[in-house]
């Protein structure tokens, strides 16, 4: 049985395709994304508080390395598909980074199916935001000497790093994690009714919004052609093996391997578009957003995640 939140996503896509006037106010979009980031962080933090800190260190390093490597793997493939340097770097960066809502959907699916996963997984998400973006910018600079010179005011590494690390996504995820870890189960009890109980309903609402946005992107897919569809389906499938492999290597649980596969397969549509727009202006923003939000996201949420869970079960015998 399909998770109810997926229906909201499909409703959003449907509304857009039939030309409905339904729009969620921008302030609601922002509110929902702030909520989800904080709530995911908090939940992870509460669990983290019951764990030896040192045991997560190898995971943090492994995840960071994976994020950095993904764009390096994808870049030559994209170049060989005749994308220019800037676009190849930018698309790679989107895949190297991560989609928080995809993470929320996979954990919801795991909970529904009763498959355990490492409860501090939000930490992986926070760690995954930045390295892929850095690798993407590096590739763009190497691939196109011009890029740096035009971007006279911008493009300082320090600025990029600052913007990602102290950007909304990482700050709220890590902020939530730390608050959850420090306050613990008892300390966060009084805010449970806002941050824990309605979580899945809020996720449903956010998926309705993302359906509207993704639906609006489908027209673009036609413009960019079949290549973009192929990338948006095959890259996630391929990357899920990279993620699952890392999960096995780190000795994660079945659910943990599924999460890691999903994180690798997911493409960022919040941090990456903003960062690439500033750091790699020559890249076509419409192209990478169409891939990340118009194809990868729907594919993962509706088709990919069940597969990644199956994959994890097969690999771990779970």
């Amino acid at each position: 049985m399909i998770d109810v939140v997926i229906f909201f996503f499909l409703l959003g896509i449907f509304a857009r395709l039939v030309g409905s006037d339904l729009r969620l106010p921008e302030a609601l979009y922002e509110t929902l994304s702030i909520y989800l980031l904080l709530a995911i962080g908090l939940k992870g933090g509460i669990e983290l508080s019951q764990q030896p800190m040192l045991s997560v260190l190898p995971q943090v390093l492994g995840v960071a390395l994976m994020g950095f490597t993904v764009p390096l793997i994808l870049y030559p493939i994209l170049r060989s598909l005749r994308f220019n340097a800037a676009d190849s770097a930018s698309i790679g960066a989107h895949f190297g980074s991560v989609s928080v809502v995809t993470f929320a959907v996979v954990t919801a699916a795991l909970i529904r199916q009763g498959i355990a996963y490492e409860a501090h997984a939000p930490l992986w998400v926070a760690v995954l935001e930045a390295p892929g973006l850095i690798a993407g910018v590096l590739l763009a600079r190497l691939g196109d000497k011009d890029a740096e010179s035009t971007a006279s005011v911008r493009g300082h590494w320090a600025t990029l790093l600052h913007d990602v690390v102290f950007g909304k996504s990482v700050l709220l995820l890590l902020g939530g994690l730390i608050i959850g870890a420090v306050a613990g189960t008892a300390g966060t009890e009084p805010i449970k009714a806002l941050f824990i109980d309605p979580f899945k309903g809020v996720l449903a609402l956010f998926l309705l919004e993302l359906g509207l946005v993704a639906g609006g992107r489908l027209a673009e897919v036609k413009r960019y052609g079949w290549q973009v569809v192929a990338i948006g389906v095959l890259f996630p499938l391929g990357l899920s093996f990279v993620g699952a492999g890392l999960g096995l290597l780190l000795g994660l649980s079945t659910g943990g391997v599924a999460v890691m596969a999903t994180l690798a397969a997911s493409a960022s549509y919040i941090a990456a578009p903003t960062a690439m727009r500033i750091a790699v202006p020559a890249a076509n923003a419409g192209l990478s957003i169409t891939i990340a939000l118009g194809i990868v996201f729907p594919f993962n949420v509706v088709i990919g995640i069940p597969l990644y869970i199956k994959l994890a079960q097969a690999l771990t015998g779970g």
Binding site: Y29, V153, R277, I278, P281, G286
Partner: protein, 100 residues
Amino acid sequence: MEKHKRTLLVVIAEANIERMLVQDIRRLGAAGYTVTDVRGGGHSGVREGTWEADRTIRMEVVCEGGVADKIAEHMLAEYGKHYGLTLYFSEVSVLRPNKF
């Protein structure tokens, strides 16, 4: 009540580069600026502004003609190629010349 000629420069651009535009404006000598969240359409398609990558801003700057030219030239050179950008000038008059 004496009036003084100034130039109004209006810049419409993606919200992503707002911070950089403000820095540029300040650096090039304008005393102030006003920003509005807008939506719209142009050569690069429709921008509805319902989520972060799709937001557009409209910035207006009242300043001396020379400063407006410098700002516009800089913006066109710096952002014109890769960003959706609309620029226009208009003659306005103000009452307190040393404010602008």
